[in-house]
């Protein structure tokens, strides 16, 4: 065999991809040809360098947990009853909201907003509507809103506390486009809708439960929040405290 033919087969020999007869022919040529032998040596040396310095990697725990959370979410969404039943329930929300609401806004404003927030959440649970930007990285989600909103929402990740960031999307609530941040908690989805607080207003957290969904609302120093999920209220409050603490940390 001539060198030109051998050259193409050296890599295949090193990769164990030659049939036995061909491998023997190439090896025989290598024994008598220094140039081709050196080429073969280089392939093996490169292999050594890669084995040492570019090994296979283990998926970080964070990634493993995030993939799990997303799959569990997909599982719970696919197991839900048909979406139209929930939309019908959301439509009756307007009548149901009454004097239990205690926020700085008027009762009718609160009623309309809660209705829209819940509808946004229910809609998001339909396939393909959960996020516009699916990322657990707050440094990917936060800038995604640039150019899409007239404000930049605060985005934190609470994966360490068991509430991983799943992504974000644009939604339309209260007559304006708003940021919706999606978090996970085991198989539950939590929507956080937030927009800049109008100066002078503050209101402590108020809670509301309708049709199996829990809503929490408060007006913070920088942002006004609505949090909605089927997660139980105590855990939702725990999550809200994380949001409040994160806002306080950046506000200083």
């Amino acid at each position: 065999m001539r060198c030109a033919e051998i050259e193409q087969r050296i890599g295949a020999l090193a990769d164990g991809e030659l049939v036995e007869a061909e491998a023997r022919d190439v090896e025989e040529h290598l024994r008598s040809c220094p140039a081709c032998r050196a080429a073969h040596e280089r392939v093996l040396a490169l292999r050594t360098a890669l084995e040492q310095h570019a090994p296979p990697l283990a998926a970080p725990d964070r990634l493993r947990a995030a993939v799990h959370a997303r799959l569990e979410t997909a599982a719970s969404v696919s197991r839900r009853p048909v979406a139209w039943r929930w939309l019908a329930a959301a439509a009756t929300l307007v009548a149901a909201i009454g004097g239990t609401w205690q926020v700085a806004t008027t009762v009718s404003d609160g009623r309309a907003l809660a209705d829209q927030v819940l509808a946004s959440h229910v809609r998001s649970l339909m396939p393909g509507h959960l996020t516009d930007v699916a990322s657990t990285d707050q440094h990917t989600v936060k800038p995604w809103f640039n150019g899409r909103l007239d404000y930049s929402p605060a985005v934190s990740d609470f994966a360490g506390a068991g509430f991983p960031l799943i992504g974000g999307r644009l939604d339309y609530v209260g007559g304006r486009p708003v940021a919706a941040l999606v978090y996970g908690r085991r198989q539950h989805m939590i929507d956080v809708l937030l927009w800049p607080t109008e100066s002078g207003t503050r209101a402590g957290p108020a809670s509301l439960t309708r049709q199996g969904y829990h809503l929490l609302h408060w007006v913070g120093p920088q942002y006004t929040y609505w949090v909605v999920s089927d997660l139980a209220t105590p855990e939702l409050r725990q999550f809200s405290e994380l949001l409040q603490r994160a806002e306080a940390a950046t506000y200083r």
């Binding site: 490169l46 570019a54 993939v67 799959l71 997909a74 699916a134």
Partner: protein, 171 residues
Amino acid sequence: MEQDPIERFEAVALPHLDAAYTLARYLMRDDAAAQDVVQEAFLRALKYFDRFRGGDARAWVLAIVRNTSHSWRRRQGDRPVEFDERVHSASVEEHTPEAALLRSADREMVRRALDRLPLELREVIVLREIQGLSYKEIAGVAGIPIGTVMSRLSRARARLEQVLGALAGRE
């Protein structure tokens, strides 16, 4: 009782999460992007799980990760490879390094040399040398003929040898 399809999917795909991350990490050259790619890939895999007819689950997962990585890079626009005059100068390109020099390369050199490869060359060398796939498996994952796998591996090795030779030779 029929096994929940999500559970079935997890049993098939999750064992290959490490391999998925390995491929994504070397292709994307960035940890955060790699993690996002893997998440998106697993959701896509779940969506298309009914098309998986058994067989090599690792290759199936890796093919989805590979395609997701390519889509991702297209969407974001490839970051330009840093141009190093000493590496790309004509005299260096003619130089074929000795095996000993290649073996002396350190981690930073090896990673940098890999990062400099064009994506279609980097993916075949990663699948072959880092993840140990056969030519046939690589052809399946990358969606190219086996002949193309061989020629790209050859070019990838030649390129890596040149770059590593230049980087190691500077020391």
